[in-house]
């Protein structure tokens, strides 16, 4: 029982629940975090001796709450303590705490904790950073290195974000169904942003930052455990699993992007993929289409194809049609054009691209796709022009290198 690594994993796993419950109790994020920190320190001392508690989250809530209350009493007797009815149960034993954890209250606790990280006045990257710090418990150094910025800069960013969070009004009452749904969708969006931050760094060199992707998947699974019948959370988790399963094949040895068609499918993580496929099926059973589900369904079509030639492009075209109707966007039309080119040919796809020239006039992928379609039609000069434009809009070296390779093929 002296395996410190095991204790670390147990505390990491307990953290969202424990901090969320302590936040509801103390209604102060700093106090909740400190209380959890204190519980962790005690866990490191006592768990190796006494063995692990059966429910580490309940243990941390119990110990953290008591130590924070003691600290408050010691520090200042005049400090305003939580209302009497809230502390009346402070003599609870651990098992009573475990019983209460079973109640549905704690799904809303965790959701609230994630939701307060999504302050609309904070830029997306700060929302993600603060969620990684508070919910996932990553160190500032770990977050800084994931975002490729200095530790000092990240520390400042997180402090600023936390200040915004503590000033905002947070509802501690149990949310109604409409409010819960809204929170869920906000939090889902944040988790997907976190995943994408890891999946395709904008402007950075490294193209897949695995820890961010894995953390996003962990949060997705956590949310789905709490809300097991939310089809869009199934869809989100499936989408991340299916995309991340392809990560081992996504970059070559020179850190260049390997396109889906050229990826070594033997490198795909079949375990993650299988889990993602089941979740897509589960979500679809409910018959309520949503954007995460549909995107996951697209990834599932690719996952099911043993080789690129086996891809069911007609099905992809159909899914994009539903997605387009649900959430019209030029980027979705652009992606649909790729499917259309496979089913009906490059000329038909180029037709679809026509209305996109203006809205996507400074979008790298638009010119990449346009170039590829023109090249396929033998319109070399126009293709060259599109590829050059794409290179000028590339955000990473890998993106630019990929287009240059196409240009070279055109010139040879």
């Amino acid at each position: 029982m002296t395996d410190v690594a095991w204790i670390g994993a147990a505390l990491t796993a307990a953290r969202p629940q424990a901090v969320a419950a302590l936040l509801r109790y103390f209604r102060n994020l700093d106090v909740a975090e400190e209380a959890f920190q204190e519980a962790c320190l005690r866990a490191l001392k006592t768990w190796p001796v006494n063995g692990p508690p059966r429910d580490p989250a309940a243990w941390c809530i119990f110990v953290g709450r008591n130590s924070a209350l003691d600290e408050m009493r010691r520090r200042n007797k005049h400090d305003s303590l939580p209302e009497d009815d809230v502390i009346a149960d402070s003599e609870d034993n651990e098992s009573a705490m475990v019983d209460r954890l079973d109640s549905s209250a704690y799904q809303d606790d965790v959701l609230r904790l994630l939701f307060i990280c999504c302050q609309p006045e904070l830029p997306a990257t700060q929302q993600i950073a603060v969620a990684l710090r508070i919910v996932s418990g990553l160190s500032v150094q770990e977050i800084a290195s994931a975002f490729l910025v200095s530790e000092a800069a990240m520390a400042q960013r997180i402090t600023r974000a936390k200040r915004v969070m503590t000033q905002s009004a947070v509802a501690f009452e149990t949310p109604g169904p409409a409010e819960r749904a809204e929170r869920l969708s906000t939090v889902a969006a944040m988790i997907y942003l976190l995943f994408n931050e890891g999946y395709s760094a904008s402007g950075g060199e490294a193209h897949v930052r695995v820890p961010l992707c894995e953390e996003a998947i962990r949060l997705g699974r956590l949310l789905l455990r709490l809300f097991p019948s939310e089809s869009e959370i199934m869809g989100l988790t499936a989408l991340m699993l299916l995309q991340h399963a392809r990560a081992p094949a996504r970059l070559d040895e020179n850190n260049n992007i390997v396109l889906l068609d050229d990826q070594d499918r033997g490198k795909w993580d079949r375990g993650l993929m299988a889990e993602g496929l089941v979740l897509v099926e589960k979500a679809q059973r409910q018959g309520i289409p949503g954007t995460y589900q549909l995107q996951a369904a697209l990834a599932a079509v690719h996952a099911r194809a043993a080789t690129p030639a086996d891809t069911n492009w007609a099905q992809i075209d159909q899914i994009y049609a539903v997605l387009e109707a649900l959430q019209p966007s030029p980027v979705i039309t652009l992606n649909r054009a790729v499917a259309v080119s496979k089913v009906h040919g490059a000329a038909a796809a180029l037709e679809l691209l026509k209305p996109l020239a203006e809205p996507l006039g400074s979008y790298f992928h638009y010119f990449g796709v346009k170039g590829a379609l023109l090249k396929e039609l033998g319109r070399a000069d126009e293709a060259r022009e599109a590829f050059n434009k794409a290179i000028s809009l590339a955000r990473t070296a890998a993106e630019a290198a990929h287009i240059r390779m196409n240009l070279d093929k055109l010139n040879s």
């Binding site: 097991p228 019948s229 199934m234 889990e275 099926e281 589960k282």
Partner: protein, 120 residues
């Protein structure tokens, strides 16, 4: 006598394991399994996918299909089936045909499977 050994743990904790930790744990259980297999004493071994992939078919006038794992603690685990199904829907159909007047069946895909030897 055949014995079934069922594994329980906190899923959230396993999902927070590092790769090294995962590899260490797997290596240890594989060593035990290997020794048993070489003595002809090991039947099928499986690792289940996370509970988030689970569905539950509960007995009712018409069986009810629910998202999520079997969650009640009032009933006891009494047995299991291992079936090969082309889809989740198909597996749910099998469970529907198996469910009795009371109780519930959880349908959960396998992440890993080792068939073992045909125990006699």
């Amino acid at each position: 006598m055949f014995y079934c050994i069922l594994c329980y743990n906190l899923e959230s904790e396993l999902q927070a394991w590092s790769r090294e930790k995962e590899a260490t744990v797997m290596a240890r259980s594989e060593a035990v399994a290997h020794a048993l297999a070489s003595q002809g004493r090991l039947g099928p071994v499986g690792r289940l996918m996370p509970t988030t992939t689970a569905m539950t078919v509960r007995a009712s006038r018409e069986p009810v299909v629910l998202d999520g794992p079997f969650a009640e603690t009032k009933e006891q685990l009494l047995g299991f089936y291992l079936v090969d199904c082309p889809s989740l829907e198909d597996a749910i159909e099998v469970a529907r045909s198996l469910v009795g007047d009371t109780g519930a069946l959880e349908v959960r895909p396998l992440a890993r499977f080792y068939p073992g030897i045909g125990l006699q």
